[in-house]
């Protein structure tokens, strides 16, 4: 009788196990046999107490065997089902990996700021401090103190916006030179970025743009030092191997005055569209500080000398990033801005 029960249980398990599809069903099924309280196999163990004493060992062994076998069978089934279930879960969770990622949208600094930052990094390492002057300047600081008196023809080089007889929108960051030199004795090394204004508005000119002015005043500063410093600047901003060329020019506040060209970084100096076939690109103006400018600031030109250089920030940005229209820099078109994420 009992043995038949064992057989029946075994048959039931063998028959049912392959039909079970989930680990939850398997768990319930397993419980119905092995649960300590009311599992069928556990029930057999309990029924054993009614057996005659001499049959107990044999039957006990049968039940134990059954239990061992059942446990193994359930474990094996469990492993299979779990593997299937995991495979299914993975399948269900499958994604289209070509769908777009989720980004944290960040904004971009203005190209002018990026160039100014780059320039500051280059020149800060050489010991330059940063001085930012005013946008509305006194005529004296913008012109007269820079060796450009009222009747000077050089004033015609720049069309000036005036806001009163005496005040104007600065036409050059050089105005800052005077403020610095009036308040600081040499050695002076300053870099002065800022907005400047000229009454010029066409396809290639903007009435407002940014300049970066540099000034060094110390003992025994020469034109060689100017070129040496500009060589380093050119390589760092435009890339290794870029060279500078000085050629004579004129600014009222420097003498000798030079235009500084860099060898074309697009073609390596062979001549291309960017450099208009010349192999050189004009990037800045510079020169030895005119003694009258030093005198105007109370610095003895026989003791000290210096050089100054100034460049258009947009010009550098346009060259470096290939921006073809200066006006685009002041329009904040989203399609423009998103190209400058740093």
């Amino acid at each position: 009788m009992m043995e038949e029960n064992i057989k029946a249980i075994r048959a039931e398990i063998e028959e049912t196990l392959p039909t079970l599809a989930s680990s939850a069903a398997l768990y319930e099924f397993r419980k119905s046999f092995l649960d300590n309280k009311d599992g069928k196999i556990s029930g057999l163990m309990k029924a054993m107490k009614d057996l005659p004493k001499e049959e107990k060992p044999a039957f006990g062994k049968l039940v134990n065997d059954l239990k061992t076998w059942a446990t193994a069978a359930f474990d094996e089934a469990d492993e299979k089902i779990k593997a299937l279930e995991l495979a299914q879960k993975n399948k269900d969770e499958e994604i289209d990996v070509t769908m777009p990622g989720v980004k944290t949208e960040v904004g971009a600094l203005h190209p002018d700021t990026m160039i100014i930052n780059e320039l500051i990094d280059i020149f800060a390492g050489m010991g330059f401090e940063i001085y930012e002057g005013r946008e509305i300047e006194n005529d004296y600081y913008n012109f007269t103190a820079l060796n450009t008196p009222k009747d000077h023809p050089a004033r015609d080089m720049q069309d000036t916006f005036y806001v009163s007889e005496e005040f104007l929108l600065r036409t050059q960051t050089s105005a800052g030179q005077i403020h610095v030199m009036e308040n600081k004795k040499p050695p002076i090394k300053i870099l002065s970025p800022g907005k400047v204004f000229r009454s010029d508005d066409d396809a290639t000119h903007s009435p407002m743009f940014s300049q970066m002015e540099g000034l060094v005043v110390d003992k025994d500063i020469s034109l060689c030092d100017l070129q040496g410093m500009l060589d380093i600047f050119s390589e760092r901003i435009f890339g290794e191997g870029v060279k500078t060329r000085l050629r004579p020019s004129y600014f009222p506040f420097t003498e000798p005055s030079v235009e500084v060209d860099v060898s074309c970084f697009a073609c390596g100096g062979k001549g291309c569209k960017l450099c208009k076939g010349t192999g050189w690109i004009e990037v800045l103006g510079a020169g030895v500080v005119n003694r009258h400018v030093l005198e105007n600031c109370g610095i003895d030109p026989d003791e000290y000398s210096g050089f100054a250089f100034g460049m258009g920030v947009e010009r550098i940005a346009m060259l470096k990033y290939g921006i073809n229209n200066i006006k685009a820099l002041f329009e904040s078109d989203t399609r423009f801005a998103e190209q400058f994420k740093d």
């Binding site: 330059f128 916006f161 030092d225 070129q227 060589d231 002041f330 801005a337």
Partner: protein, 805 residues
């Protein structure tokens, strides 16, 4: 400055090509903006002689056999009326390029290439050309102005290129002259520089003349020597007005001047050749045979040569005869004394007028001329003397009149001689940073006309009389030496003598960059807009007439009214950028700008105005809300660890229900809000737009807080969610504040849901907050937290009437 190569060659023996000369001038500081061959567009045109010429019946076209020398004889059809057997004409062969003209044969319409063709069934292998078709005018070549074939000289060799014959192989240099070199605004100025770069002698144009004209009594008075430091008058009698000779007309034509008559052409010629403006008066129109140079009287009038009348004032300098103004000094002569065909006696004027005086008068009257722009650049008195001599020489050479002895020169005593200057060779080299060999210094300065001598450290030069830019210092001479010796000799060094200095941004400059980076991280891109804006921008923002923002600093000479005011707010530029983006189809965007607004203490300005930095942030697009923008502002405050408060407020251009004033330390520093519906409607904006503008200077004191680490508690934090029902008028900030201050362990309160509906009742809302409790010295138990929550709820019930939902 236009300088034809052929003209320069008169005064320097130029043995290099135009292209090579361009390079040499460039290295010496004279950038050639354009180097153009006069006949650049013309090619393949040779001398041909018509051998037979037969009219095609019923047409005006002749079929000609034309002998082209080495190019053989070609049949060419020609419609010109002066084609004839034996005549020599320019022949554009097949493949040649010449100008295409309109039906009038005068208007140039472009460049064409000559092809084989057929006219009335007759083959034509080329074209006989007119002057116009070759770009040659009557002034450039006598006879070229005829509306028909250009007739070449009988001795022109057959088959020869016509370009040298017609002067089309000449080159024009358009040279950019820097403001310090007005002496080079002339052919002789450029010729001197060319001579210097080629190390060849400069040949001065002929200045000689004989004084054989009539003698008269004449008087010149200069009453305003400050505006006219030198005035030279010279009388020429027996004038014969006639056309100028071909060579002079050609030269004038190459530099863009139309020939008029000999006397007038000479004044123009001297202006170009010497850079000295000249004027010629008809002496018989001058009353009392005298010239007075004086300031104009108030409301005095003059009619200039171009028949414009001007009302003058004492700011204007005039040249008068014994009675009335006869010229606007340095700008233009008067109509009352102009040279006419009947003129018999001329008074020539060469003067130096002060450049700012000419400029002021020219600007004030809106009247300018080649002469005035030349004076504005600066004329030296030595050249004033030369110019007069050259004009008198040309009067004689052209047989235009007899030069008299009557020469009156009034000057303030400025020297017109070279002046000595001694500088130190060592100092010169120190400026350059290299040692230029003494012999090189001598060689280059000599070529530039400085007559240098060196003994020991002393470099003695004679500064040429035409070099007003040399003001007497070693830097001037150093510049002359290096531009001639060559900048390629400079050896780069890196501040080898300079003191080491500490560089870099100061704290405030670093903070500004960090503020920008913080906003970038929030998705906002940096903008830079013009510092000026339009009165219309203030209207767009509905700024009232009496508001501070209306007291903007006005540019006296703006490009346009739209760029005429210095900004008093940044919001308008940002809003304009939004409109521009939407118009271009960009449907969403986030920008910020940090820039100055300008505040004048009083207008017009008598002192520096306040330049106050503002921060403006703008966001537009369907996914933007008041709170996305507010989040960026809060993120900024969190990054720098300061606290902004937001309270309901208004502006003239934002939504009345979606605007907050922002305060810091109890002081209002700006606003944030959605742009009002009606403002949007006016601008055709169909997307929500949010703006914020803050006084950046008010933030500055809060940006420097050092980062200080607070130890992280090792005990676990506990969080509780509290849904509170309050009446509608209770704000989030009130509840947040009440919760945050109710228990010292509460370290963070954040709203995560607002619910309105039947369940909470009319006029009420439910707000759900996440509250964080941070322990300090022991782990919290659940009971402990419950106790704190009860305390908080009690406070909320008492202060705000809040109930737990």
């Amino acid at each position: 400055m236009l300088a034809p190569l052929s003209w320069l060659k008169e005064y320097v023996d130029i043995d290099v090509s135009a292209k090579e000369l361009e390079g040499l001038l460039f290295s010496a500081g004279f950038e050639v903006e354009e180097l153009k061959e006069v006949g650049a567009d013309i090619s393949g045109v040779v001398v041909g002689q018509v051998e037979t010429c037969e009219l095609i019946p019923d047409t005006h076209i002749h079929v000609c056999q034309v002998n082209l020398g080495e190019y053989g004889t070609q049949q060419i059809c020609c419609g010109a009326d002066n084609v004839c057997v034996g005549g020599k004409f320019p022949v554009a062969m097949v493949g040649a390029t010449v100008y295409a003209t309109a039906k009038d044969h005068v208007t140039i319409e472009g460049v064409m290439t000559i092809k084989k063709g057929k006219l009335r069934g007759q083959e034509s292998n080329g074209m006989l050309c007119s002057g116009t078709e070759l770009g040659v005018t009557e002034d450039m070549y006598p006879g070229a102005g005829y509306n028909g074939l250009l007739v070449l000289p009988e001795d022109a060799p057959l088959g020869a290129d016509v370009k040298p014959i017609l002067g089309l192989d000449d080159w024009i240099f358009d040279i950019s002259i820097t403001a310090n070199r007005p002496d080079c605004q002339s052919i002789i100025g450029i010729a001197r520089e060319v001579a210097a770069v080629l190390k060849k002698p400069f040949k001065m144009p002929d200045l000689s003349y004989t004084e054989n004209g009539k003698d008269i009594e004449f008087k010149v008075t200069v009453e305003a020597p400050d505006l006219c430091p030198r005035y030279i008058a010279h009388y020429v009698s027996d004038i014969k007005i006639a056309p100028s000779p071909a060579w002079m007309r050609r030269r004038l034509s190459l530099v863009g001047i139309n020939a008029i008559s000999n006397a007038v052409d000479i004044t123009n010629y001297v202006l170009k050749e010497f850079g000295q403006p000249m004027h010629a008066f008809d002496l018989n129109d001058l009353e009392n045979t005298e010239i007075v140079v004086r300031r104009a009287k108030e409301n005095e009038t003059i009619v200039t040569l171009d028949e414009k009348e001007f009302k003058l004032n004492p700011e204007n300098l005039v040249i008068c005869d014994g009675n009335k103004p006869v010229a606007l000094a340095g700008i233009m002569g008067g109509l009352n004394s102009e040279i006419k065909d009947t003129t018999t006696d001329v008074l020539f004027e060469a003067a130096k007028f002060a450049r700012d005086s000419v400029r002021k008068t020219s600007r004030a009257l809106g009247q300018s001329s080649d002469s005035s722009s030349r004076f504005e650049k600066g004329v030296d008195e030595y050249t004033t003397q030369l110019g007069m001599k050259r004009a008198l020489h040309l009067m004689e050479e052209l047989d235009c009149g007899k030069v008299s002895k009557v020469h009156i020169e009034v000057s303030s005593g400025n020297s017109t001689e070279p002046h000595p200057l001694t500088v130190s060779v060592e100092k010169l080299n120190k400026i350059l940073g290299i040692t230029v060999p003494d012999e090189e210094i001598i060689r280059h300065l000599d070529a530039l006309g400085f007559a240098p001598e060196i003994s020991g450290d002393e470099l003695r030069v004679m500064v040429p009389a035409w070099r007003d830019d040399i003001d007497g210092h070693v830097q001037d001479i150093a510049e002359e030496v290096i531009r001639s010796y060559g900048y390629e000799h400079i050896v780069p060094t890196f501040l080898k003598e300079a003191t080491v200095t500490a560089g870099g941004r100061n704290a405030e400059q670093k903070q500004l960059l960090r503020v920008k980076q913080t906003l970038c991280k929030q998705g906002y891109s940096e903008s830079i807009f013009y510092s000026f804006f339009s009165p219309k921008d203030l209207d767009m923002l509905r700024i009232p007439e009496d508001a501070e923002e209306r007291k903007a600093i006005r540019i006296l000479n703006p490009i346009s009214e739209d760029l005429s005011l210095m900004r008093t707010t940044l919001s308008a530029s940002m809003l304009n950028a939004v409109v521009r983006n939407l118009r271009r189809g960009n449907t969403a965007g986030r920008f910020f700008e940090i820039a100055n607004v300008f505040k004048a203490e009083s207008l017009p300005l008598t002192a520096y105005p306040e330049e106050q930095r503002h921060l403006c942030i703008g966001a537009f697009g369907d996914s933007e809300t008041f709170f996305t923008l507010k989040g960026a502002v809060e993120a900024l405050a969190e990054t720098f660890d300061f606290k902004l408060t937001f309270a309901r407020g208004t502006t003239t251009f934002t939504h009345p229900g979606m605007t907050a004033v922002i305060s810091l330390d109890g002081k209002e520093i700006g606003y944030i809000g959605r742009v009002a519906h009606d403002v949007c409607a006016e601008l055709a904006i169909e997307k929500p737009v949010f703006l914020c503008e803050l006084d950046y200077e008010a933030l500055v004191p809060h940006l420097g807080k050092p980062m200080v680490y607070k130890p992280v508690s090792k005990f676990a934090i506990e969080t509780r969610d509290l849904a509170l029902v309050v009446s509608e008028d209770v704000t989030c900030a009130q509840v947040e504040d009440a919760i945050a201050t109710s228990c010292k362990y509460i370290t963070k309160v954040s709203l995560f849901d607002v619910y309105r509906g039947k369940q909470v009742g009319e006029g009420k809302k439910s707000m759900a907050f996440n509250v964080v409790f941070t322990p300090d010295d022991h782990e919290f138990t659940s009971d402990e937290i419950d106790k704190y929550v009860q305390k908080t709820l009690k406070k909320l019930a008492f202060t705000l009437g809040a109930e737990l939902r």
